[in-house]
Amino acid sequence: MPIETHRSHDGRSLTIKIEGRFDFSTHQAFRDAYEHGGRDVSGYVVDLSDATYLDSSALGMLLLLRDHAGGDSADIVIQNCNNDVRKILTISNFEQLFTIR
C-alpha cells in the first residue's frame, strides 16, 4: 500500500502517509485518503518519511488537499521529508502555504 491513513484518538487529525514515489500514479489514492478521511477532521498531517520522490503533480495534489481543507484557513503539516523532497518544496516556496517540519 503506497498510502496509509490513520486518525488521531480524538478523530480531529488525519495523518496520510505516503510510501515510495509521490507522483501522478498516487493521485486517486491520495484523493480518496482525504476525501474519505472522515467528517470532523480539522487538521491534516502528510507524513513523507517513506516518500522517496515528489514531483510537480504531487505539489498539485497538496494544493488540492489545501483547497479541500479550507484554502487559506487549512491546517496542514507536511512532516519528515528527506532532503530531496524538502528541496523541491523549498524551491516552490510551499512553506508559505503549509507547515513543514
Partner: protein, 571 residues
Amino acid sequence: MDESAPLKILIADDSDSDRLILKTLLKRLGHMVVDAANGHEAVALFQSETPDIVLLDALMPSMDGMEAARHIKKLAGERLVPLIFITSLTEPEDLAGCLEAGGDGFLSKPYNRVMIKAKVNAFNRMRLMHQALSDQRDLMHERNRQLLKEQHIARGVFDNVAHTGCLNAPNIRFHASPLSVFSGDVLFASPRPAGGMLVFAGDFTGHGLPAAIGAMPVAESFYGMAGKGFNGADILREINQKLVRILPKDMFCCGAMVEVDFALNQLNIWNGGLPDMWLMRSPTERYSLPSRHLPLGILGPDQFKADMETVRSRPGDRLLLMTDGVLECSDSEGQLFGEQGVRRAIENAGLSRHPFDALMSEIQRFTGQHKFGDDLTLCCLEMVDEAGQAALPDAVELSTLAGPTQWRCDYELQGSTLGEFNPLPLLLHICMEVPGLRRRSGEVYTLLSELYNNALEHGVLQLPSEWKYTPEGFDRYYSERAKRLSRVDGHYIRFSFHHDLTALGGRLRVVCEDSGEGFDFQNHPVLQATEMAQSGPRYGGRGLALIKRLAKTVQFDKKGSRVDVVYEWFF
C-alpha cells in the same frame, strides 16, 4: 462482431466423398462452404472468395496442403484466417510440418461432427479476437496521427500568439524544444519601449493540451503589456491573476521574470519556483538567485507578491535561467543531473567557454544523448552596452497630422495609489495617440518615467540618491523605498499635459508636480553643468541628465517640487 454469425469456409480435399461429407456437415452447422479438389484450386478460391476459415487436406495431388497453406498465409497478410489441416497423419514430424507451413491446428479423419463444430467455433473466436485487436490498433494509429496533426496546427496558432519576441537578439542564447509548448515550457522576451528588455521563462505543471492552453494567456499578457511599457511586476500580477482564474487548483506555473536595464546596468528579477538563476561575472565570481516566491496561479491577487529583487550588474555579466527539465536530466543509471550538475558545468566553463555552451555540452555528456527531452529550457542573457535595443516594431505609418494634435490633460495620483499603481503605461498611451509622438515612443517613455520616478522617489518619498552610490546603500535604498511607499497618505503626483502643433511638428509640454519638499535645484551638479561629464556610477543624477538631454527646456520651481518640461517633435 457476432460469434454465431455464419462463416464462409473454404475446404480442400481430393477425395470427392470426404469433401461432400465435410461440406454437408458444415452447411448443417449454418456455414457457407466453397470447396476445392486440390491445392491450386484452393489458393485460387481463397483469393476470389476471401473465406473466414480454411480447412485443408494435408495430402493432395497437384500442390499439397502444406504448399497451399504457405501461399494462403502469404496472401492473408495481416489478416488472421485460421487454417486447419484435415489429416490422417499421426507422425509428430508430419504434424509439425503442417504447423510450420502455417497451419493453426488439426482435425483428424474420419470426421466427427462434434469435434468439427467445436474446432470451427474455437478458431472463429480466435479470428474475432485478432480482428478486434487489429481494428483497435488501427483506430489508435489513426487517432494518434490525428492528434499529432492537431498539435502541429495548434503549435502554429500558439506561435502566432506566443512568438519568440526578441529572443534572437545577439545578447541572448537559448534552447527550447520545438514542441516544448506541449510539455509546458515557455520562454518569451520583449524589448521595452524605453530600452532594455523583459524576459519570462515558465514551466507549467502537467503536460499536453492543458499546459499549452494555460500558456496562451501568459504569452498574450506578457507581449501585450511589455510593449505598452508595463514593468515586470505589473505583468506578473496580471499573469498570476489570470492563471488563478483559469487553471484547475492543482495546476500552476513556475516562472521567472527578468527586467533588464542596460543603461543603468541593473537587473530586476523575480523567481517563483524555477531552479536558481545564475549571474556570472567571471570564472570565479558568480551569484545564485534562488526562487523566493510561490509559483504563479496559486495565490489570489491580495496575497500574491510581485516584488522584484534588484541586482546590479556590469557589462559582460551573464544571467542563466532554466526550467527544472535541466535538473531532471538523467544518465543511463537514472542519476539526476541536479543542481550539482549545473554548478559543475559553470565552474568548469572557465574563461574561454560561453557558460551556455558549457552547460549544454555537459548535459549532453551526462545524458549521453544529443537530443533532449521536450521539457528542457535554458536561456542565457548577456549584459551589453545598449544591447538588444531592437526597437519596437514600427506601428502602421499614419499621417503625422491624423489623430489628436491640440489637447490638454491633467492626471493626479493620490495617497495609497502611489504605492500600488504604475501610471506610466496609461500616460504613455495618451501621448501615443499623437502619431508624431508615437514615432518617438522610447524618448517619450523615458521622459515620463524619469519625471515620475524623480517625483515619487526623491519628491514624495524623500530618498537621497547618494545612497545608490554604494552597494550597501543600494540595498538600503530599495528596502527604504518599499517601506516609505506604505506611508504616502496625503501625498500626490500631478501630471499636466499640453500638446499643440508648431510650424515644424509638435510640442508636448509636461508639468509634473509632487507634494514632496523638493530639492536644491539651484546647486544640483547636473543642472549646473553645461557639459554633462559624469564620472562613475552616479545613479542619482542620471535621471535628471536624461531629462535635460531629451527635452528642449527644463524648468524647476516651487523649490524643485514642480518641473516644467517642453519636448518637441518634427515632421
